[in-house]
């Protein structure tokens, strides 16, 4: 039986790549959330255990990880709003590309602000 073509990577445009991004970030957030609920659940076990796990979040390396996570959430969130607009706003499909650029700009602004604040807190202690 013949098979479907594999060949080169499809060169989709903004719409396709934003979808790839949305999917990947969605899964990443989901996996984090599973872990996050588990670690938060430790508050039921003992304050010591909770503080020990939370302590690892205060490690500068984790701070970078956290930054990535927040980046993922912020992108997923803003792009999610864009998707809602594409679906429910009459001119959404027409402006989907412009809206994606909007998402990316807002994302960058938020992330720069957050990164400065967060990293200085994480590394500098204040």
């Amino acid at each position: 039986m013949s098979k479907t073509s594999s060949g080169t990577l499809y060169r989709g445009r903004e719409g396709m790549w934003s979808w790839v991004g949305h999917r990947v970030t969605g899964v990443v957030i989901f996996l984090f959330l599973l872990v996050h609920v588990l670690d938060t659940a430790l508050v039921r076990v003992s304050p010591g255990a909770y503080d020990a796990v939370i302590g690892t979040y205060k490690n500068p390396l984790m701070a970078v990880g956290e930054l990535g996570l927040v980046a993922a959430i912020v992108f997923h969130a803003f792009n999610g709003l864009r998707l809602v607009l594409v679906d429910f706003w009459k001119s959404g499909p027409k402006y989907q590309r412009q809206m994606l650029w909007g998402v990316l700009i807002v994302w960058a602004v938020v992330m720069i602000g957050f990164a400065i604040r967060h990293l200085s807190l994480a590394f500098g202690g204040l």
Partner: protein, 260 residues
Amino acid sequence: MSSEVPEPASKVDLAPGIGGGGEIPQFDITLRVRRYDPEFSEEATWEDYALTMYGTDRVLDALHKVKWEIDGSLSFRRSCAHGVCGSDAMRINGRNRLACKTLLKDLDTSKPITVEAIKGLPVEKDLIVDMEPFFQSYREIMPFMITKGHEPAAEHYQSPEDRERYDDTTKCILCAACTSSCPVFWTDGQYFGPAAIVNAHRFIFDSRDEGGDMRLEILNDKEGVWRCRTTFNCTEACPRGIQVTKAISEVKQAILARSV
């Protein structure tokens, strides 16, 4: 005919270069085609062809040149050669397009131009895919006008505004460029696909048609419109410029509106 058109002087001066002279630009390209013929090998291979082409040549002309002058076994579908029959959707430099509507000069000719079969449908040979799954989805949405008897004596009446409502989706030539560009369709091939939805849209929003509910029911299926993740590949691939994603959105809204 239209009298408001000004009558031009019987003789005008043509801009230089229009009336004659001028070289026809000519350039060399490498056409890189994905070949596959299960009669001879299970493996698909890339094959390069060096060609000299002219200014107005299209990818279809390059393929013809290969078939007619270099290797007659290269197989692809084509008919009208000007973008109205929908035979020759293929992946050119990684994107779905009609070979007969893609001018070589609009591509980057310094690099090889890759040509391969559209994705998501079984490849039969070279650039030819099995179109049956595609037409199967098309047939499932009942792509014909449904009226509940009482035919008018002459024509059905329809206002120009009502006619305009579904104009965009009547342009579809069933080329499959959209469906085979859709990342959701590539996954398991069960999604109805944008083309089927476009053709359902054409009837759902036709004021004369009375079968809209049935079609909305069909597209409310788990392989229906809800699988669309608005990636817009379809809209960008459509050679007829149909606003495919928008049409899909309108069908989603219609299903929602019907349920509340």
